[in-house]
Amino acid sequence: MAPAQSRQKVEGIASPRESSREAIWKELAHVIEHAAHQLPAQGPIPVFIHHNTLHAFEDLPFTEAVEQASRLYGCEPYWTEERYRSELLRGRIRLADLEAVIFEDLGERANEKVVDRCSRLDLRLAMLQHPLRLGTPEELSWYVMETDALREIREEAPDAHRNRLIAETRRWVMRDLRPGASPSRKGAEGEDGPAWRTKMTDLIERFGSSTIEEWSEETWEAFTLQALWQVCLDGVGDLPATPDDSTPLIRHRDWLRWAGAPDADVLVHSVLIPFCAAFLDQGLSSWPLPNREEGFYASFCKLYAQPLGPPVSWRRGLAEELRRHMEERVGPLESIRQSLEDLGVEPAEWDEYLSATLLALRGWAGMLWFLENRPDRAVHPVPPGSLKEYVAVRFILDRWAVRWVAREHHGYGGPLAGLRDQLRATNPSRSVPSIASRAFQVFQLAPILGWTPEQLSRLSRREWHNLVGEIEAFHGVERRRLFHLAYERRFYTQVLDAITCHNRRERSRPSLPRCQALFCIDEREESLRRHVEEVASDVQTFGIAGFFFVPMYYRGWSDAHFVPLCPIVLKPKNWVVEQLQGDEQTQTRLQRKRQVWGRVTHQIHVGSRTFALGAIVSGLLGVSAVVPLIFQTLFPRWAGSIRGLLGRWFLRPPATRLQLERRAPSAGPHEGHIGFDVDEMTEMAERVLRDTGLTAGWARIVVILGHGSTSANNPHKSAYDCGACGGAEGGPNARALAQILNDPRVRERLAGRGLPIPPTTWFVGGMHNTASDTITWFDEEHLPSPIATEFEEIRQLFEQALARNAQERCRRFETASLTITPEEARKHVESRAEDLAQVRTELGHATNAILIVGRRERTRGLFLDRRAFLNSYDPTQDDAEGTILSRILQAALPVCAGINLEYYFSCVDNVGYGCGSKLPHNITSLLGVMDGAASDLRTGLPWQMIEIHEPVRLLCLVETEPAKLLRIIDRQPVLARLVRHGWVQLATLDPRSPALSIYRNGEFRPYIPTKDQLPTAPSSAAWYRGWRDHLEFATIAADLSGG
């Protein structure tokens, strides 16, 4: 802010209207900051942190928030109606669920009659089940003329209704309408008036009244529809128009586009995107932007104020304007003020206009805002105030582009301030539902609900008004909301039923476990845990956030920098490094070799783009590129192992050890200050053991597994890593915790705190690669000898489980056969991880939907289809206040909800909230990706990650008493916001019985199961074999017999 402020001060002194100007600047700065919160909050992509896409809207109830956001961003709030309808057709949504959510939504009003005997429920169900076509009068006219809409009754109409419709109309015509017939109901005629009757008579004439007795079935059908159409047109004809709720036109560019002119933003972005990219560049280009350190605004002005610019007609005069800005020392806020004045935007409109302007290029603007607030997240951060400077630049370009478009394509040469009024005046008002489209809605519904033309013809004007009002009140977004609720409801019912049924069975904790294993809560670990338990029934597993409560800045022996390994909300206080073992000489030699290798590769990388070196590289070495090209694309797994071999041969991985212990009193990144002291270690260890409830019944080997993912050619790699480690691999945390828990001093202190660990117990750290399904074990060479042989068995056991896990994952990959064996499956996933062409190395968190906080015994042996985050918590070891539960939920719920909601939004609108298909992605500025040659910076998740996701809100099931949970939520504002506003669904499982309660509108109500039996299968494999789609939950019986 410093340079900008000083400029403004200078100007302020010079200006006579100093105080008023400054007040305006202050106000503008405030408005921009306010609008900035609506920008995407995604940081640089090398560290991908999952978060709720609509975090800024969390103060609103979920449905309200998504609908408001959809208007603001122009994105979809839910899936499309067609999508839900196809889910209805395939049975994923059931009619009963739809009915239930309508009842829940309307209460008593569901049964009120809308037309005759048709209730509101009937009407809404019909509108949900059958698509209603809407359109402009032109489209409708095409539809009516070119299709059989006026000849054949739509085929979805039930046969009974169809026959009745024709028969009743026939009777009506013969009885009342035929020339010469005497109307039997005088009252009806009086209401309808003769004009209406004349039209019917004309219609009969057109079909040939003289041969009316010989009309064929088809003729009667066509006549019925024509009569119906006529009645509908008459009925809605003089109803008042509803207010226009389409997205408002705000910016000048919006108005021009609506008037048919080209998009002025295309011009603006052709300058702004390259400049933003150059300004934010973290080192991709080899020539940094000059004057970058002076800020966005100053560097832009200096760059573009130069003479001899390109001959682009819309930018004529721009350089002079920028020169004036620099000469008159116009600061960014003053510039914004002048631009707004020029555009004729009144202060009352500022909020709306600035927010729309910011959102026009929201990815880039969001990145500026993110980096100015989190300078620690980038190598080259941007100065504070950059977003304001961006707005100033954007407005200048906007003015030039709009002025040019208005002149060239609209013949408007006047002041910009008057442009919008001029466009408003010369163009017809925006569309309101036309008579035809309103009539067409009733016309489409009539055959389905069995409304006959006669019946409709007798409706009074007030009744018509009501009917149309009812239909319009249940508009597209409302229908999608209900569809969505029904879609979720079906899933929640399945989960809750499964948990109830599963818990009705008898089961006991294995008396003497052979091994205990701590996993991350990540839902991808659910299947591995299940397989481990299936392979060996005497293994006990636990789930805990994957940084294992060892928050640290970590630097591996081969890393250049420290990375934070903990959730984004925490800031580590300690630093840990991995140290090479062995003598100093080999160490330095190794480091030097790596350095030389790095320099050479870097030179080739940079040089290949230049003149001379590029010629040598491509001319001489170029053809040899065929070898890696062929190997990496055709034989990725071989290429991977060859590369591994070469790496080992050239840069042999040495024995390493974490430097965990600190002797100096203060922690820091430098020698001597690295690590934790023993008290800190004890603290972390105790936290882990208390939270998981692993406090007694120790096995001889306790495995601690972090996780990470490898994928080739994937800019979004970090999104597949451990979320609890801030989008990095969690192996070091697991390794650190194992080392801490093996430390006799820590054990001594733990025993002092009532947590004795037997001396025979040993902890082993490892990292599970969720892409290639392999485990890297740490510090094996330090295992004491009796443990080492036992560990070999455990390792074999895990290998077996990994193969099974790979097989379960492969059922989701279309390119893997459904009959694949576990061993083949491991090869398959390994080659996926190395494959340059593979855009779905793994499927990430897709299908995540449940968070279960409770003892593993309650869910052990339940097939959860990799959909549940599993956090261990033993309610019997917690106090009455739920201290442990409270801290678990505080950590786990926001993280899981963030992942779940990011997937939700990227899934319901992959183009708007997500970043679209990976195929055209183009890494830019080392910060993110663009679509193709130039576009906005794309945020959110790519299509390939959410493809199989089911967008349902997280169901959080906690093993505790409802009252306790309510108290915890009341105390924690973060949880309260998520729960009370429905961003997650909450339920409890009674610690002593299978009873469930479910949270609705501020209270827990007992859940009444809809099923009393859960399918069983002898093994997970038996249950998932042959299926690609989502699977129902089931009890895996093998585990029961073993346990």
Binding site: P137, A560, T610, S618, A933
Partner: protein
């Protein structure tokens, strides 16, 4: 000699037949609405590419063993009227075979890559249809023995390139950029077509009629300087458009709209080199015309310098790579002008392979950078840009010039497109006035666009 002939006549046709089979068995079912599935497409591309590759290599081996340097296969006349004929003929020589093998090799790699990369993509079939057309175009252009055959291949390459730039047709930017590419391509097509006509009037379409009977790269052009010069100039213009030489370089970064594998093969590897290939094909003619050879050297070097400067400031990986590739294309053109056809050919093959690999690995950039930083144990050095001694003002100006890609697009727009459009519009208004005058009306009427009345609908 006879053995080579047998090899040529039996194996040779496979080189060109394989892509024809690929296109027709993929394209015809698509036209009939019965698209092949992903697996079938993959198998088909594997079989045809492998067949073509093996055939091309066999021909190469056969000719090497035999010492033949020039083999011709006739496919008869396309059109023959008295005094005029379009002649289809393919040639195997030291230029065409390496280029055909390169095409098959890279197409094979790319189709294997795309088969997995585009898995489940709604446009999978469309991609492979255009990919097949592209391969057919490349193979027929590289083997062409007459300028007509070359033109056919040239057109197919252009068409399929444009359609793949516009692959994501639901967004406006790809379509806009594809249109721009299409215009430049048509410009160069027009030049090539004119060259073909000039050539025909002089000597018929066969290259050997123009370049003499000696095998490539030797040759004795037997045409007069005026004829030869006009043909050479037209061919250079055609090559400049296709290979994104100055002043057409603007389309190259814009073409990065399609899926990564198509960017790799088209703009990193094959189609950007097609212009250079054309110049190589007629290099004996250029050698005999020193003025044009010099022009080519200057042209190529200017392009290379331009592209090297642009490459410095690009902030996205695909644009940076495309300019890096263009630097080398410029140098290759200069080498042709200097009369080093073999050097140019090797350089071309190397650049094509190397850039394909770089493009395919483009999404790995973040990981690669991190690996490099880790190896070096420090942040990657950030150089200060070119000409560090020059004045700051000049460097600032140069930076802007590079950031706006040398103003090339703007210059083409103002110097060519706008005057052209203005001219066409003037003619249009004259015509309207003339027809109005003839038909006795005063002014052309606009069609009404009023919304239909309710009564219309009934």
């Amino acid at each position: 000699m006879s053995e080579t002939k047998i090899v040529l006549s039996t194996i040779g046709p496979l080189v060109i037949l394989a892509p024809i089979v690929f296109v027709s068995s993929l394209g015809i079912p698509s036209l009939l609405g019965r698209k092949l599935g992903e697996r079938a497409t993959g198998r088909l591309s594997f079989v045809t590419v492998t067949t073509g590759l093996i055939a091309a290599v066999t021909v190469l081996v056969g000719m090497l063993l035999d010492g033949t340097r020039h083999g011709v296969m006739e496919f008869g006349e396309w059109v023959a009227i008295p005094g005029y004929h379009f002649h289809l003929q393919i040639v195997f020589d030291r230029l065409s075979i390496p280029f055909a093998i390169l095409t098959y090799l890279l197409c094979g790699v790319i189709s294997a890559f795309a088969f997995r990369y585009l898995h489940r993509e709604p446009g999978f079939n469309r991609f492979f249809v255009f990919f097949a057309i592209f391969m057919l175009g490349m193979v027929s252009a590289s083997l062409a023995g007459t300028i007509e055959t070359l033109f056919v291949g040239w057109e197919l390459v252009g068409l399929s390139s444009v359609m793949l730039v516009a692959f994501f047709q639901e967004r406006p930017a790809p379509v806009r950029n594809a249109l721009r590419l299409w215009v430049v391509y048509r410009w160069s097509d027009a030049a090539l077509l004119l060259a073909a006509i000039v050539l025909h009037h002089r000597s018929g379409g066969e290259f050997h009629a123009l370049l003499g009977d000696r095998p490539w790269p030797e040759g004795h052009p037997s045409v007069s300087a005026a004829w030869g010069g006009s043909v050479a100039l037209l061919l250079i213009i055609a090559a400049a458009g296709k290979s994104a030489l100055l002043p057409f370089s603007g389309w190259l970064p814009r073409a990065m709209e399609g899926p990564t594998p198509s960017s790799a093969i088209f703009y990193g590897a094959l189609s950007v080199h097609l212009g250079a290939f054309l110049l190589l094909r007629v290099s004996p003619l250029l050698d005999s015309l020193p003025v044009f050879a010099a022009l080519l050297v200057v042209w190529g070097l200017a392009t290379a310098i331009h592209a090297a400067l642009m490459a410095r400031v690009q902030t996205d990986v695909k644009s940076a790579l495309s300019f890096a590739s263009l630097v080398q294309v410029g140098l290759i053109v200069a080498e042709i002008g200097l009369g080093f056809p073999y050097l140019a050919l090797v350089h071309l093959l190397g650049n094509a392979c190397f850039r394909t690999l770089q493009f395919l690995r483009a999404p790995s950039l973040l990981q690669d950078f991190r690996r490099l930083e880790n190896a070096m144990g420090e942040r990657l050095p950030r150089p200060d840009g070119p000409f560090p001694q020059a004045s700051f003002g000049f460097r600032l100006w140069l930076y802007r010039w590079a950031l706006e890609r040398g103003y090339l697009d703007a210059l083409l727009q103002t110097l060519i497109v706008e005057p052209f459009l203005a001219g066409v519009r003037t003619f249009d208004s004259w015509e309207r006035r003339w027809t109005a005058f003839l038909s006795g009306r005063t002014a052309p009427t606009q069609p009404t666009t009023a919304a239909p009345e309710i009564e219309d609908i009934v």
